[in-house]
């Protein structure tokens, strides 16, 4: 497997395990799980993902984690998202919330959470992962109260907000610019969740709108420093978001190729029409380039190579966009069948578009990217 060249034995094993997991646990029942919120949440799949350690890949060993590099998270996300990106959305959200705590130096909070993790609920951390809280003014306000803080207002689209134990939430505190991050117990008094949000994609990665009135929140890191932690987390995890999209691309391409090899129109297998080959070729090239980008950027991130931050962000912007185009073709190759839920392609189209919005609006992420370069950060050595 060419893709494995340059990976350590450990990562190779992890990749194989993730692939097996995806094939054994995710293919079956994908359509039913996607029926959420009109069907029960897929807690069993989350529990099994927890058992194999997908929610603690980056955590230090002393917290029960695998202390893996970002490359490991990328491999797992890619394999998982090939079959069902909903689980990928959950794994990514938890990793992002953990990363935010880590960037804020809130190791003791991570310890508190993971030292007593028994159920999957304890291991899950919720976060509004399709939003950069710095893009718009937060609707949540934090007020000092004795030693702590009380939060009031709302946060929309908190991913895992109805099934996680705790959430990391952005709130405006005092009259400081920016926002602060708070750790909130999702069972706390005064916290109200909406009905699950019905979304474009990642249906089985549930989200809710939260309304808080005087809910206790533990400040994470320093007040007003939320944007710094968030941008640092984006630097590191953008490549993981790219990996998720790359997985969706590979899944879409494989399904399209298999179908084109079987479907006959105009007296021949459609794979033999040169226009169909052109589309398949464009898909194959995009998926391969995405894989190379993700691998290279993840290596740069883990090795802290010069320009790694922008490499990570560039990979996400590029791969996510290509994934939306590729999955559109992925439906097209299957014609009418591609538009139906039975073939998994329409789900990949929705998931790819949803994944594109991870960690904020695309154009604003593009503007941030160039602003950093204009301000002097070099994208390469």
């Amino acid at each position: 497997m060419a893709k494995m060249v340059g990976l350590s034995e450990e990562l190779r094993l992890l990749d194989g395990m993730a692939r097996d997991f995806a094939l054994n646990e995710l293919v079956q029942g994908r359509e039913e799980r996607d029926h959420y919120p009109f069907a029960p949440p897929c807690e069993d799949v989350l529990a099994r993902a927890h058992q194999v350690g997908f929610f603690s890949l980056l955590l230090p060993e002393e917290l029960g984690g695998a202390a893996e590099p970002v490359q490991a998270l990328c491999l797992v996300l890619e394999e998982v998202c090939r079959e069902d990106a909903s689980l990928g959305g959950a794994v990514f959200t938890v990793a992002l919330a953990q990363e935010l705590l880590a960037r804020a130096g809130a190791v003791e909070k991570l310890e508190q959470i993971y030292s007593r993790t028994v159920s999957v609920r304890d291991a899950l951390l919720a976060f509004p992962s399709f939003h950069n809280p710095g893009d718009t003014q937060p609707n949540l306000a934090a007020e000092r109260h004795k030693d702590g803080y009380r939060l009031s207002g709302g946060v929309d689209y908190v991913v895992l907000g109805n099934i996680a134990g705790k959430a990391v939430l952005p709130a405006k505190s005092g009259d400081r610019p920016g926002y602060s991050l708070f750790l909130v117990d999702l069972q706390a008094e005064g916290l109200e969740g909406s009905e699950p949000v019905l979304s474009l994609g990642l249906h089985a990665c549930p989200a809710v709108d939260l309304r808080l009135s005087g809910v206790e929140g533990e400040l994470v890191g320093e007040e007003g420093k939320g944007p710094d932690y968030f941008e640092a987390a984006v630097d590191r995890l953008s490549v993981a978001a790219a990996a998720a999209s790359c997985g969706v691309m590979k899944g879409s391409f494989s399904t399209a190729l298999d179908y084109a090899r079987q479907r006959i129109q105009g007296g021949r297998k459609i794979v033999n029409w040169s226009e169909v080959r052109m589309i398949l070729s464009s898909m194959a090239v995009k998926a391969k380039v995405a894989e190379m980008l993700v691998r290279e950027a993840a290596r740069a991130v883990d090795g802290k190579e010069p320009g790694w931050r922008l490499a990570s962000r560039a990979a996400a912007l590029q791969v996510q966009e290509e994934a939306t185009e590729l999955t559109c073709d992925g439906i097209q190759i299957l014609g009418g069948n591609g538009y139906m839920q039975d073939y998994g392609q329409e789900k990949r189209f929705r998931d790819a578009k949803q994944l594109q919005s991870l960690m904020g609006m695309v154009p604003l992420r593009r503007l941030r990217y160039i602003r950093r370069i204009v301000d002097g950060e070099s994208p390469w050595a």
Partner: protein, 510 residues
Amino acid sequence: MLRKSDSSLLLREFPDFTDTMHSLVAMEKMPRGVVDECREAVALARRFNRTVARNYALELDRRTQEDPTYLPWELVEEANRWGFFTMWIPKLFGGKGWSLTSIAPFVEELASECLAITNLIGVHYFGFSILVATWNIRLIDQISREVVEGEKTGKPCLVSGAVTEPEAGTDAEEVELLARAKVRCHARRVEGGYVVNGRKIFISNGHLSTWHILIAYEDLERPDESMIAFAVKNGTPGFSFGRMEKKMGQKGCPASELVFEDCFIPEENMLVAASRLEEMKLLSRAARRMKRGPRELSMQLIDFVVSATRPGVGAMGAGVARGALELALQFARETVVDGRPLVNHEWVQCLLAEMYMNAALARLSYMEANYANSMYGMARLLGFKPLYYYHRAMPTSVFDRLMPAANRLDAVTSAYRLLVMGGQSEEEERLASGWASLAKVAGTDLGVKNCQLALELMGQAGLRHDRRAEKCLRDAKLLQIYEGTNQLNRLNVFKCLVAPAAPEARAFED
């Protein structure tokens, strides 16, 4: 200055002037009343959107996500009350007789609010177009009058069009492909009619329709030469509904399977048969005049239909492109970034301008195709000025007194066939069909593009069902697939509009 002969030689060079300037030519031919009708149609659609679709579209989509077998009868009844199912049925057949040119702007308007609702209304005219393309006046009249009756009684009577089969989709849309297709819907001629066996899939409105215009084949080895069309009514023994598809979008409009098991269809419900040119005397005269054999006749039938309906799909693309723009604009007005409303950021202004241009380009394409179809397509007679004004001025009741009896006469059918089928040249067929495909591809690709742009701009808000934009994207993707995938339509653009400049080229052979 140029001599006339030089000028006409130059204008015939690729691309031929008449191939590209339909609106210019149409302007002088088109009755002025058509413009008024377009205005009225758009205004009516806007009112429908404000009073019905806007409140209902999301609820319908959500309900059908929950239960993919949900049938939106209340919507069918509402559209029936608004008179939408008879608006474009000619007065000769009891309908309201609006000019066909006005249907596309109407469709665009509806589509800017909800593509599922648009399809549910529009696809009735897809079924109706296949019916009309056969020029079997007796059956057109009978079915049209049932639709009109359904409006009066409040019991909607819709028409579906059934072409696609499990193993034949793209196949079924071009005779070159059809010649090699694995079609399975077989019609065997028996005494007094035909026995049909086979299945049709993805039939929009199948479960909601009363009449189904069915395409079958008498010889499965030579489907291109043995195409046959029937009108099948619900309740016909041997005909039943199969599954309903679980679609990604346009959920409010069902896609059904139609099952035919030893289904006997009487001769009087046979619309036209390519193999029976000789028997259908005047049709055969028309065909002879045009040097059309069974295969060419099949292609003409297909082209009659798609030349009328593909611009409609392009209009749906234009509509959803506009809908996406409107949602993005609203978001940009209400969202503050860096202390300023998004709409005041330069890059957003360029993005919104691009979205506006996409919608406008889609509209230009479908209107151009619309003009081509109104001049060269199957309903061009109705655009002929004296006929148009006569048709418009006469109350339907006058036609109702005269036409039903006349429409039952075989001679009337024959005369129409001679006029319309025999009257269309290959050049005209090529232009109407080529432009219809062009408009379909352009409009639908631009529609999908705008939905994608809207979602990118709206970020998290765009992903939520309650903000509408995600539904636009799910709905729009279907436009690139039905009425021939955009690949098939590109090939048709090549065949009709590019290949004349390369006489050695052969389409669909690869």
